[in-house]
Subunit: 201 residues, 2 copies
DNA sequence: GTCTATACAACGATAGAC
DNA sequence: GTCTATCGTTGTATAGAC
């Protein structure tokens, strides 16, 4: 990639494109969003997107590359907490933070769809998921060591399921209802309940 | 709609189109699938789809209209069971039956995406969801009456969350791993765990 | 009634202007 | 280095053939 003469302005334009694209992709979907729409929303001319990005899919990927640092910070902060069980629920809360934002829900669906098709994107998604899964798994192991949750759960697997539960919440999002209390409850029930079932009430 | 001269053949063709389309939509997505591809897979000529369906979206809707009777049967059978708690877990099992089928997972994602865009389709989805939700809610009320699950759960809401959890499983499907044992476990934990202990943040 | 050849529109991407 | 006018391709849907 050749370095632009005016890096600041260039970076700002890129950012504008990514933000405009995120909104359009989230609302209308990837295929239904045209590069011309993105360009217009970003205040540049129809073909201008292709100066800043290799192609349309690269714009889409850029959206999700943006929140990779956020995932890392989220996990790092959680690992610093004293109570690992609290930390897990805190991560759940944070991951579900955007459920009520319809844009985020739309983007998640779009992400799942496109991830199966674009290997580059798959890599980005996988990296992000791994950060969260690994972080959660560490926390779950700590919980088990402190005898706070069911010891028969395989931490890595349980971590994936927690993410899966949150994904479900994104899919069935209702903008008017905060899903986090119920999500905490479900995750708590999941982690506490033994595998044999009816011991807990 | 004019009735075809040869209803049987006509119905068979329609069915062939729907089946071919389901596969293509599930694998490649709605927009990435062309009507020509569908026609070819169904063994008719490029424009032929439009004789049997009003437009491309009508083909997509037809896929999901097909399994409306199945939902009804599923719920009816569950309501006939003696133990309502077993019945709930049985419904969960049935709903998750296709998680390991990649086609079904692809179609679910596609469905969520398109449902927000096509009002007709929204209606179909809503009808299907309502059947399940209402059925589950009845079962949950029975469970509460028999003191089998936490009485503080609002049945309708809990039913929606159960479906949400299953949707999450579809999203994160792994073709090599049967998700049902873990799903049962999560749902059981959810229904049994009390609402207290919510002191966590 | 059934199906096909084709019109028309729209999109992503580029060649080259500034 | 930055951006715009434009092109080739492709896809839906239809007008009309059989």
């Amino acid at each position: 990639m050749a370095r632009p003469v005016n890096p600041q302005r260039s970076a700002a334009r890129r950012e504008a494109i990514v933000l405009a694209a995120a909104e359009l992709f989230g609302v209308n979907g990837f295929e239904q969003t045209t590069t011309a729409q993105i360009a217009k929303a970003a205040g540049i001319s129809p073909g201008g997107v292709f100066y800043y990005f290799e192609d349309k899919r690269a714009v889409f990927r850029a959206i999700f590359q943006r929140d990779l640092p956020m995932s890392k910070a989220l996990v790092a902060a959680a690992l610093d907490r004293d109570d690992p069980f609290d930390a897990v629920l805190h991560v759940v809360d944070q991951l579900a933070e955007d459920v009520m934002n319809p844009l985020a829900a739309g983007l998640l669906v779009e992400l799942v769809r496109q991830a199966g098709r674009d290997p580059e994107l798959t890599r980005v998604v996988h990296e992000n998921t791994t950060i969260i899964t690994d972080g959660l798994a560490v926390l779950l192991r700590r919980c088990q060591a402190a005898d706070l949750i069911d010891s028969s759960l395989e931490p890595g697997e349980a971590a994936q399921w927690i993410q899966s539960i949150i994904d479900g919440a994104y899919l069935n999002a209702d903008p008017d209802r905060d899903p986090r209390p119920m999500l905490r409850r479900i995750v708590r029930g999941f982690l506490l309940s033994g595998n044999d079932g009816d011991t807990h009430v």
